[in-house]
Every structure is written in structure tokens, then in C-alpha cells.
């Protein structure tokens, strides 16, 4: 005599009732997230009004009124963005004044760089040591020979013809590759127990942190040639790139020092107790922990460095921004919307690179902190 025979016993559970309308659904989401208090409501309304005021004209300018194709200024007089200008100048924006027949060299160098960087950036790929040797030793030599044409029988391309995104990337990569190791050395020097090393490192860091980058660039481009003996000219682009690298190594040193200070004293003492030499302590115990902690700071400095490469424009070098600015002074394209279009386009390119760097840093941070930190 099964229980189920009784008419008053339910055979199936009661169907769940829908949750009250105030708790789920779009309305509830709106109420919880946008209108939860009078202050939030007011903020929401203000922001919505602001967006309604700014976004439609922006979309109009960027897309609807924009001129997408054309050969000169006449297509760009409707008040929208002048993308046709970017189209006409795209080779200039990417390669600067590099001779058109030699642009393949830049493309090849970029491909070699990506071929070295991508496997390095993906943790799963083996052979990191050789990868680093390739990227830091072999690649720079090949890139130098290909780009300048020195030593391999190609046409020589002087750096006054370099420009555009190409120069921005060269300056940024060179800045990053020099400033990180130099910064680590300076940070270690500043925490050293040897007084002379400590003083010199501190003086170096404080000097470079205390002067604006623009002033450094002006010094290098305006004052340095006066001090050099006549006839000795030292490539202007190289000067600017070294300035950026040295300047940022001081910032990098302070970031790394923050990481060193975050490593508990016990780690230093423990590694010392194991009988490790100072270099072994740093390489095996301290640095891996210190650098992990300061990844956001390091990437932050890289991003700042990347964007600050645009300052070389003030000394007459044509990086991405400088090239775009110079290109707007083409009388065939003089029109009201061209300068704005050029700056918006430069902004988009900088944003893409910086956002990419930032996302990769988040990925590395998550990976290194897996199972280690409580979050």
C-alpha cells in the first residue's frame, strides 16, 4: 500500500514560483545598480544626459559624416572625420619616410620580432632560454643590419628617413629592453651595503627623476651638439632613444625597489642561512618574489614609456605622432577636420598598444599569483 495511492499526496514537487519582480530581471538590475539611492539616481541621470549629449555627435563625426575615400581636401569639407587622409598617408604613418622600395625590411624585422616575442609570451612554449638569447642578442643585430643597411650590402637608410609607428615601436622596445635591467641594477645598487654603490645609484636615480623628460630631450638635442667636438655628430634618434631609456630606468629602479622592500626579511635571512652567495640570493630567492609583486608597476612604467616616446616629436623627430602632425601640413589635404582626424587616429593606435600591454600584464599576474596569494 504505497503512499502514492492517496489522493492528497502530491506526486511531483510544487513548481517553483517565479521570484518577485523586484529581485530579478532587468528592472531589478536597473534598480540595484543604477537607482539604488537618490544620489545614485541623480548620478545615473546626469551621466545618461552627458552621454546623450556627447555620443551621437561623436558617432556622426566618426562615421556618418566621415569621408572614407578621396584624393584631396575636397572630400573632407563636410565636417566629419577625414579618414581618406589617413588612407592616403598610411604608409607615411607606418614607415615614415623610409624609402618605399625598402619597406619590406621593416616588415621583415617586425615579423622576426613577433616570431621571437610570441613564443616568449606564451608560458606553455618550451625553450625560453634560447628564445631570450634570440630576442636579446640575435634579433637586435639582425634588426640593426636590416634597418640601417650597414654590414649586409643593402642600401643604407639613414635614421633621418625613419619615422612613423616604426620609430615609436623601435624607441619603445629599446626603452623597455634597456630600462628594465638597468632599473633592476640601480634598485639593487640603491639597497646595497656598499656606500659608494649606494650613493652613486641614489644620485643617478634622483637626478633623472628630478628633471622632466622634455628638458632631457632638449638638452640632448640642443646642448649636447655644442659640447661635442665639431664633426662628431651622434645620431639624433639614437640620442633621443637613449634619453628615454635612461630616464625610465630611474623610474623602473624605484618600482623594483618597492618590490625588494616587499620581500620579507626572513627570505633574505633564510637564503643567507642556506649559504647562497649574494648573486644567488638575488637571482634565486629575492628577485623572483620582488618582481612578481611589482608587475603592475613595471607594466605601468612600460605604458608610460610607450606613450612618452611621442615627446621626441618636440625635437623634430617624426615618431607616430610627429609624422601625423607633419602630414597634416600637406596643403593638398588642408581642411578643418584633418588635424582632429589625425589626433584621433594616433589616440586609437596608442590605446590599442597600451591596452594590449595592460591585458597581458593582468594575465601574467594571475598566472604567477596562482595558489599563492589569497585574493
Amino acid at each position: 500500500m504505497a503512499l502514492g495511492d492517496h489522493a492528497f499526496v502530491r506526486r511531483a514537487p510544487v513548481a517553483p514560483r517565479p521570484p518577485p519582480r523586484g529581485v530579478v530581471g532587468p528592472l531589478a538590475w536597473l534598480r540595484n545598480n543604477l537607482f539604488s539611492s537618490p544620489a545614485n539616481t541623480a548620478t545615473t541621470i546626469l551621466i545618461a544626459l552627458f552621454l546623450a549629449w556627447t555620443v551621437p555627435p561623436l558617432i556622426r563625426w566618426l562615421f556618418i559624416d566621415a569621408a572614407w575615400t578621396g584624393d584631396d581636401r575636397s572630400v573632407c569639407l563636410d565636417g566629419g572625420a577625414c579618414w581618406a587622409f589617413i588612407g592616403a598617408k598610411i604608409n607615411l604613418i607606418l614607415y615614415g619616410q623610409y624609402p618605399p622600395d625598402e619597406r619590406w625590411r621593416i616588415v621583415l624585422v617586425a615579423a622576426l620580432f613577433v616570431a621571437g616575442l610570441v613564443p616568449l609570451a606564451i608560458p606553455r612554449v618550451p625553450g625560453k632560454r634560447w628564445n631570450v638569447v634570440y630576442l636579446l642578442v640575435v634579433f637586435p643585430v639582425i634588426a640593426f643590419m636590416l634597418l640601417t643597411g650597414i654590414g649586409i650590402g643593402l642600401d643604407k637608410v639613414p635614421t633621418d628617413r625613419w619615422g612613423g609607428l616604426f620609430v615609436t615601436l623601435v624607441a619603445a622596445v629599446m626603452g623597455i629592453v634597456i630600462s628594465l635591467p638597468l632599473g633592476i641594477l640601480l634598485a639593487l645598487g640603491r639597497r646595497s651595503k656598499l656606500p659608494v654603490v649606494r650613493w652613486l645609484s641614489t644620485a643617478f636615480i634622483e637626478f633623472w627623476r628630478g628633471v622632466p623628460l622634455v628638458a632631457v630631450l632638449f638638452m640632448a638635442s640642443v646642448m649636447l651638439p655644442i659640447f661635442l667636438p665639431p664633426g662628431v655628430t651622434f645620431d639624433k634618434l639614437l640620442r633621443a632613444m637613449l634619453c628615454i631609456a635612461i630616464f625610465y630606468s630611474a623610474y623602473m629602479a624605484e618600482v623594483v625597489r618597492g618590490g625588494l622592500q616587499a620581500v620579507p626579511k626572513g627570505q633574505y635571512e633564510g637564503s643567507m642561512a642556506l649559504g647562497l652567495s649574494w648573486f644567488q640570493q638575488m637571482r634565486l630567492v629575492v628577485m623572483p618574489q620582488a618582481l612578481t609583486v611589482v608587475i603592475p608597476g613595471i607594466v605601468n612604467t612600460f605604458i608610460a614609456l610607450f606613450k612618452d616616446t611621442s615627446l621626441i616629436m618636440v625635437i623634430g623627430l617624426f615618431d607616430l605622432l610627429g609624422m601625423l602632425k607633419s602630414a597634416t601640413n600637406d596643403s593638398d589635404w588642408a581642411s578643418p577636420s584633418v588635424p582632429a582626424t589625425a589626433y584621433v587616429f594616433a589616440g586609437i593606435i596608442y590605446w590599442v598598444f597600451c591596452f594590449g600591454l595592460s591585458r597581458y600584464s593582468v594575465f601574467i599576474e594571475r598566472r604567477l599569483s596562482r595558489g599563492k596569494l589569497h585574493r
Binding site: 581636401r73 569639407l77 565636417g79 592616403a88 598617408k89 604608409n91 607615411l92 614607415y95 615614415g96 619616410q97 623610409y98 624609402p99 618605399p100 639613414p158 633621418d160 628617413r161 619615422g163 632638449f218 638635442s221 640642443v222 646642448m223 651638439p225 655644442i226 659640447f227 661635442l228 667636438p229 665639431p230 664633426g231 655628430t233 639624433k236 618636440v314 625635437i315 623634430g316 623627430l317 617624426f318 610627429g322 609624422m323 602632425k325 607633419s326 602630414a327 597634416t328 601640413n329 600637406d330 596643403s331 593638398d332 588642408a334 581642411s335 578643418p336 584633418v338 588635424p339
Partner: protein, 340 residues
């Protein structure tokens, strides 16, 4: 010990000071190098532009190419160094460039204090006014009582006040920090006129939506003679730059153009013969060049009028009037010294 250090420092300083003027014969350096190093603007409508293929073009750029043509018979034997206003003089002083052709105003201070000198005036600029074409202004004096958009912190602003005050006229200046902003204020109708150097006023007009609705008043209210600069201490090089300019002017005056220079070689006119180095005229040798130096310039680049027209004048989008830059016998003040 101390004396030794001091002596060493003095020695080094003296060595540097002695070596400071870059080697005396710029022409020899240029020849040995195989190309001319020319300092230009980083980008200015009509004067120095980078075209879609990355090649330099413009009025100042053509002067560099003319000098290169005189030396090498090759207008491409030039390396251009784009320079900001701040570093232009240092670049020339330090020997990083051989000649500076970068819309530089010839002033007494610059002549006296830089160790550099001007080789001539290739463009007579001056402050001008841009007004709406239908507003009925004919001269700057018609702007009495009006509002004028001007960029702050420039000599333009001071010249404007000088001009109006000295004539007992009144005006209201709308001074904004940035040139582009001044132009947009003008376009929005916030002022009756926009003022800047005339060459700038023409390019400003280009960036307006409808340039045809605006016109440039005929007069200029200040003197801005722009010219190429070289280092003091090398008279031969100064002569090369200076006479390149005069050759361009004389060629225009004598009707020698890029198109007809080959026929003109046979011209019976003694002035043309002297210019082109025909009939035993040996003027190029006097300044270290070949006697066909001017013929090379005109064959490669054209004469002054052609350079002007192509980059700034009627043949360019800028459409700048010759004005003061017309030849002396055509209402202007460009005057080529006689080659004889």
C-alpha cells in the same frame, strides 16, 4: 696637482673653443660627404611638407634642392633635418646642418648674437589679416572698432596693438592660446578678422570649411623677412647660398625657365650668357662651383617664380599673391644682384 687640473681644464676648453667653428670650407665637407645637409621646418603648408611617399616638398625645401643642384647637379643629394624652432640655430652652429632654410626672420639680434648670418631674403612675410569676403573690409584701417582673433604671446599680438594704437584706432583682441583655436573662433564668427603672418593666414584659410568665403587683406603691418642662414666664417659657402638665391631671381627676371633653359643656352643676350655660363662666362668658378652652376639649378628646380608658384602661389592650393615677393620690376622688392 691643483694647478695641473686647472691647466688641463683650460687646455680642454681652449681646444674646444678653437675647434668650435665647424671646419672652414663647408663646400669641401659637403662634396666629400656627397650630399647637402639642410635644416627645414617640421611641417608647414607650402614651405616644408612631406608628401604621401615621404618625400620633402615646399618652398624652403626647393631652396635646399637648388643649392644641391648647384653643387652636385642632383636635387636629391640632400638630407633634410626637420628642426623645431628651439633647436634650429644650435643645429647650424654645431655643424649638424650646412644651411638652415626654415622660415627664419632676419633680425638684428640674430645677426649679432648667433655666429650665424643670413644669405638673403627668399620670402618677404609680414602680418596680415583674414576677413570674411562679404564683410566689406578693404584695408586694415576698416577694422577700426572691430574684434580681432590673435594668438597670445606672439609678436603678432604686439604688432597688432602697435599698429592700431599708432593710428588712433581701436580694436578688441580675442586672444587665444593656440593658433587652431584662434582660427576656429574666427570661423565661428566671434571676431571680424584673424591675424597672423601672411603666409600663415593663407594656410589658415585653407583649413576653413569654405575658403572662398574669406579673403586676405592686401596690406601687411609688420616686416618678417625670411631667409636662409649659414655659419659666419665661410665666405665661399655664404656666397654659394646667396648667389643660388640671386641666380633664381635673375633667371626669372631674364625669362629663363625650367622648360626653356636648354634653348636659352644659345641666347645672344649677354646677361643670360653670364647667368648660364655661356660664351666664356666663368662666374661659378669664383665661388668654387662649375660655370654651369645656375643652368643646373634652373634645369633641376626652375626659377624663383616657378618655385613660388608651385609651392605657394597660384599653382598651389594656398594661392598666395606674389605681393612684396614679386620682382622689383613687377611691383615687388625681390631684386637679384647682377651677375657680372
Amino acid at each position: 696637482m691643483k694647478t695641473a687640473v686647472v691647466a688641463a681644464i683650460i687646455g680642454v676648453t681652449a681646444g674646444l673653443a678653437a675647434a668650435a667653428p665647424a671646419s672652414a670650407a663647408t663646400l669641401d665637407d659637403v662634396r666629400a660627404r656627397g650630399y647637402l645637409q639642410c635644416g627645414v621646418h617640421t611641417g608647414l603648408f607650402g614651405f616644408a611638407e612631406v608628401d604621401n611617399n615621404g618625400e620633402w616638398a615646399g618652398f624652403d625645401v626647393d631652396y635646399c634642392r637648388a643649392i644641391a643642384s648647384a653643387i652636385f647637379d642632383d636635387p636629391t643629394a640632400v638630407r633634410f633635418t626637420p628642426l623645431s624652432a628651439a633647436e634650429r640655430f644650435t643645429a647650424l652652429q654645431s655643424g649638424a646642418i650646412d644651411v638652415l632654410v626654415r622660415i627664419t626672420t632676419w633680425t638684428m639680434t640674430r645677426d649679432a648674437s648667433l655666429g650665424l648670418t643670413f644669405a638673403g631674403v627668399n620670402y618677404y612675410d609680414g602680418q596680415g589679416f583674414l576677413v570674411p569676403a562679404d564683410a566689406g573690409f578693404e584695408t586694415a584701417a576698416d577694422l577700426d572698432g572691430g574684434t580681432i582673433c590673435v594668438q597670445t604671446g606672439t609678436t603678432t599680438e604686439l604688432n597688432l596693438a602697435d599698429y592700431f594704437n599708432s593710428r588712433g584706432l581701436t580694436f578688441t583682441a580675442i586672444a587665444v592660446a593656440d593658433r587652431a583655436e584662434a582660427i576656429s573662433a574666427f570661423e565661428a564668427g566671434r571676431c571680424d578678422a584673424f591675424t597672423a603672418d601672411a603666409s600663415n593666414v593663407y594656410s589658415a584659410r585653407m583649413t576653413l570649411a569654405t575658403p572662398a568665403n574669406y579673403e586676405v587683406l592686401p596690406e601687411v603691418i609688420s616686416k618678417e623677412p625670411l631667409g636662409p642662414m649659414v655659419r659666419i666664417g665661410d665666405p665661399q659657402w655664404l656666397n654659394i647660398v646667396r648667389w643660388t638665391h640671386y641666380a633664381l631671381l635673375n633667371a626669372e627676371e631674364l625669362g629663363v625657365t625650367q622648360a626653356n633653359v636648354a634653348e636659352m643656352l644659345a641666347s645672344p643676350n649677354p646677361e643670360i650668357q653670364r647667368l648660364l655660363g655661356q660664351n666664356g662666362a666663368a662666374f661659378g668658378e669664383m665661388i668654387g662651383l662649375t660655370n654651369d652652376w645656375a643652368a643646373r639649378i634652373i634645369t633641376q628646380i626652375g626659377n624663383y617664380g616657378e618655385i613660388f608658384d608651385r609651392n605657394l602661389g597660384a599653382g598651389s592650393p594656398l594661392g598666395i599673391e606674389r605681393g612684396l615677393n614679386a620682382l622689383w620690376n613687377a611691383g615687388g622688392i625681390q631684386y637679384g644682384m647682377p651677375i657680372r
